[in-house]
């Protein structure tokens, strides 16, 4: 009975130890604690203490007050502002990358326009980068609504006339196409609303809806887009960067 009481007492004292006090040790650990205390009774040699003190004080004048520029720069790198900036850049870059990869609009355009860094030469920017992706996308999703249509905004459609963000979503084919097609990417076959939906649709384009087709005709520039992939260069290069900018959307 008494042992039970001791156990309960021990348990309670372990749960609610006094401030600054260590819970009472078990007999087993008492030996260890006393060994620790004996071992911790070491003192640094006086000579070593004095030597260290001397070294420290002699260095006082050698370390300049304020540190170096590199220190301040590293301080900046560690700051929350720098972290937030880096995060924002990564986020926008990631979204843009995903959008481009899936054949959606170039979402950095509205951002650039919003901050006043945008220009009308969208086609030029997108020429190189997007066209590669678009080539695949258009093949697959020709005539289908691009998965990235959610990014489309009324503003962006206005601005990026060539990027096909304008109202329907079907612009995406000509849109990113608009960017990419400038290079002559072979998305052009897919841009025709009718046939491409059937032909070019791959299993990877489940988003395609019949609605797209119905909305497509008025917007797609058929003559150039029905060109052969090989001709795209010519077909689109004619409109080239301008295609992206002033092509179908404008």
């Amino acid at each position: 009975m008494s042992s039970l009481r001791d156990r309960i007492k021990g348990a309670i004292s372990r749960v609610r130890p006094g401030r600054g006090q260590v819970p009472p040790a078990t007999p087993d650990s008492e030996a260890v604690i006393s060994a620790l205390k004996a071992d911790a009774a070491v003192e640094p040699p006086v000579a070593a203490t004095a030597r260290g003190r001397q070294t420290l004080l002699s260095q006082l004048n050698e370390v300049p007050i304020g540190g170096t520029d590199s220190m301040q720069f590293s301080q900046f790198l560690m700051s929350p502002i720098a972290a937030a900036l880096a995060g924002a850049v990564l986020l926008v870059g990631g979204i843009a990358g995903v959008s481009a990869a899936t054949g959606g609009p170039d979402v950095t355009e509205p951002v650039r326009d919003a901050v006043g860094a945008g220009d009308n030469g969208h086609g030029d920017d997108s020429d190189g980068g997007v066209s590669e992706d678009d080539r695949d996308n258009v093949d697959d999703n020709s005539g289908a609504e691009s998965p990235s249509t959610p990014f489309a905004t009324p503003d962006s459609s206005d601005d990026n006339s060539g990027h096909g963000n304008s109202d329907d979503g079907d612009d995406d084919q000509s849109g990113p196409g608009g960017g990419g097609d400038d290079d002559g990417s072979p998305e052009s076959p897919g841009a025709t609303p009718d046939d491409d939906d059937e032909e070019g649709r791959s299993p990877s384009s489940p988003e395609a809806t019949p609605d797209d087709d119905s909305e497509d005709p008025p917007e797609t520039p058929e003559p150039t887009q029905t060109a052969e992939p090989g001709d795209d260069d010519g077909g689109h290069s004619g409109s080239g960067g301008a295609d992206g900018n002033s092509g179908p959307g404008s």
Binding site: G20, S29, L36, D39, A40, G52, R53, L56, Q59, N61
Partner: protein
């Protein structure tokens, strides 16, 4: 409660003033910091390295590192010793990076007539009784096998002499968590010492 708060506020003010002085390279402030904390830092490093000579050097290095980094230090109400112990911990870790601490027991040569002297000299500067010295070496061998956080809480509490609430404040942890960490560390140390004894038998 109010007195406790006032005490804490006074300590914060005192530390803030000291940090200002340190940043101005006041030799008095640096001497004060050194005199107050060198012995406990030495013991802390000794607990983690088991080497008295190395502990002298590393503990002295802590202050030189602190001097080099004082301009980057921003006082936010946390005791300045927390910063010093962090530097000390990193210095020990850097020193042993890529290699294991040499346990003093490895310097004992069985059957060597001078073995006992060497054993005491190598491992236990504060212990003169040979049997106690052997016990201390067992203890340190067991400590060397502890998890890092267990070894740290034992070094800070028993060697550096900090209380559990002080350690908790230093680590930004709840006292309760540090109490239980301390308890687990002791249990683990007991187990490892028993295992060591069993191995030698």
């Amino acid at each position: 409660m109010i007195a406790e708060f006032e005490n804490r506020q006074a300590m914060i003010d005192e530390d803030a003033r000291l940090v200002d002085e340190l940043k101005r390279r006041s030799s008095d402030a640096w001497a004060q910091l050194y005199d107050e904390h060198f012995p406990s830092l030495y013991r802390y490093v000794f607990a983690r390295s088991s080497d008295p000579r190395l502990s002298e050097d590393l503990a002295a290095d802590v202050f030189v590192e602190a001097l080099k980094g004082i301009d980057r230090f921003h006082y936010r109400g946390k005791p300045i010793i927390a910063w010093l112990y962090r530097i000390a911990r990193n210095r020990v870790a850097d020193h042993f990076a890529g290699r294991k601490p040499v346990h003093p027991m490895s310097e004992v040569v069985v059957g060597d007539p001078g073995g006992t002297d060497r054993l005491i000299g190598a491992g236990s500067p504060g212990v003169t009784d040979p049997s106690l010295a052997v016990g201390a070496l067992d203890l340190r061998a067991a400590m060397g096998r502890l998890k890092d956080e267990h070894r740290d809480v034992i070094a800070l509490h028993y060697y550096a002499g900090l209380t559990i609430p002080e350690i908790a404040a230093m680590w930004d942890k709840k006292e309760r968590a540090v109490y239980s960490l301390h308890e687990r560390a002791l249990e683990s140390l007991c187990r490892k010492m028993r295992a060591g004894e069993a191995r030698t038998e």
